[in-house]
Symmetry: C2
Subunit: 347 residues, 2 copies
């Protein structure tokens, strides 16, 4: 330890001691006191059924926060990463961001008369799903670039925010933000109350995610990691502006998730929560050969009654490889049907 | 405001009220009390001389934290960004990271006999500065790629940490971390104590910065923004690994700084501190046409006695365009000579 480190630690200890003194007369019970005496009275995860899954989550949090236990993890290293689509809110029948992109192309069609005969735009405008699917990744990128770029970051934020406010889920007929999962929001708050820093790590684009992550999940912009497009700094009309260019900067999916986590957070998570094969590498990065307490979680959509039931054969949110790996890797498969008392946030 | 936002706000208010109640009996004075009564007794910036500069900084912090004042900024928006080289530590006669790269090439020369005749490596090994300078950006990139890539992120961290621990500044003959500026560390802590989130926004590479940012400045990895190289996720020997590839991912300098800030933080800073033309756009992005309370600061190296004196004609840390713009932009030019009582952290 360098002199500087030891001094920083001493200062930190002094600060902690002062804080402890200052709050010595306080009536707020510490975590240890609360969990010892009031466990029955206070349930941090009321929308989770009392199953083995819930017990495992609480056991993990208790272990990493117990300073005298072998699984203790210092607060700074308590990083938890959550996928978004299918993990924090509904992703069926299509990702909300794709629905946004299609709606945006339809709006822009007024100023792009040439799109009436130009694929894939014609297909989008006329709702020709087969042609759109046939256009594949190339077609998708064209739609995303047309809907997501060519404006300032500020304007994009306004457009995306208005869509999030006004759009309705095509089948469940509610605003998308009302299709966020209540048990997950409780889990985010429970982790934060136990010293975790929570992050969204999504294949969706970071600027789209940021328009609703704070009000919907309580996750601020700086803790949202996603795919991104290239932006260029400019001064326009006496104001600094970031122009969104039609060029992909980073894809935060599959093996891109550990890359994004490393780039943005610079530490390995100790908890990762996903729901599809796109989250395989994030869970593997978090739990494999870590030598410390870690927890990988996979949400299994097995609830056709309250939400959707899909896994291995689904186009959206395919869960196959990760489901096969879960048992050997020690990942907890969360059953929406059995483990969740409530699914959606209350209106 | 959506229902969800209003609920989140209500919950936050309840939490704040509970916290206030719990600490009501505490002896710790609030910010307002401390600044009203004990100003003479408690100086948050003891290494800053009592000049107009220090007064402006304190005035700014008081304004953005005064909930009844017109300049109030909510805590979540109190983002402060600091350049590293020349702003938080010494950058003369050469950036520490360049010295690291040159040392690393010299170490690697043992396993690269071909470098004895291959430029720019021959020039590095033999200390042929003129040839190295003549090799320009292309030569520099070759040196950086040879020193910074082709290993795992974990191995790079070890190599860089050992260098930081062992290397000595070529002129001041101290470890680089002892050439961090004490007044700036006080400023970081002062801002954090007033609800700011502090970030490093440097042209240096993020993984090099992270090896010393926490122990030296108290800034954790997730609040370090820098240039980056491309990494690829792989499993090697049963362990997840990020392989560092010889490809530039992002240059966090000049107009790249606002891009990096937007990508990583997703909010505009309200305070930015730099020292060279490389920080021009960051200060401009922070302060120009913002309509809210902002503060731009430029450290002027005018102290040949205690550190170095340089600005317009310097190769490293050139301060010309930003110095010309400072007055009209309202940026505060901090004189190392006049405004700082102490320069370096104490050993």
């Amino acid at each position: 330890m360098s002199l500087k480190e030891s001094r920083t630690r001493r200062l930190a200890l002094v600060a902690i001691a002062l804080l402890a003194l200052a709050c010595a007369k306080s009536e707020v019970p510490s975590h240890a006191e609360a969990s010892a005496g009031d466990e029955a009275a206070f349930d941090p995860l009321p929308s989770w059924n009392d199953t083995a899954t819930k017990a495992k989550i609480i056991e993990f949090v208790d272990a990493v926060t117990d300073p005298d236990g072998p699984g203790y993890v210092e607060p700074a290293a308590r990083i938890a990463t959550f996928d978004n689509d299918g993990t924090l809110w509904v992703e069926k029948p299509a990702y909300a961001e794709l629905l946004f992109a299609l709606d945006r192309v339809r709006s822009l069609a007024q100023v792009h008369p040439e799109w009436k005969t130009q694929e894939p735009f014609r297909a989008v405008i006329e709702g020709d799903r087969d042609t759109l699917v046939a256009a594949g990744t190339h077609g998708l990128v064209e739609v995303l670039m047309a809907s997501h770029t060519g404006m300032s970051a500020t304007l994009f934020q306004t457009i995306a925010s208005e869509w999030i406010r006004d759009a309705r889920h095509p089948e469940l007929e509610k605003p998308h933000t009302e299709l966020a999962y209540q048990p997950q929001i409780e889990l985010l708050r429970y982790l934060e109350a136990n010293g975790f820093a929570t992050f969204i790590v999504s294949g969706g684009t970071v600027e789209f995610l940021r328009t609703f992550a704070q009000p919907t999940y309580g996750i601020p912009p700086e803790r949202v990691i996603g795919s991104s497009i290239v932006t260029r700094y400019e001064v326009q009309g006496g104001k600094p502006s970031l122009l969104r260019l039609p060029e992909v900067d980073f894809i935060d999916d599959k093996a891109g998730k550990p890359v994004g986590i490393h780039k943005r957070i610079g530490r390995k998570p100790i908890l990762a929560f996903g729901n599809s094969d796109g989250d395989f590498e994030m869970l593997q990065y978090t739990t494999m050969g870590s030598g410390t307490s870690t927890l990988g979680l996979l949400l299994h959509h097995d609830d056709a009654e309250r939400e959707y039931a899909y896994d291995r054969d689904s186009e959206v949110g395919k869960l196959d490889r990760a489901l096969d790996a879960a048992s050997a890797a020690g990942w907890v498969v969360v059953s929406m049907k059995d483990d969740w008392m409530t699914v959606f946030v209350e209106e």
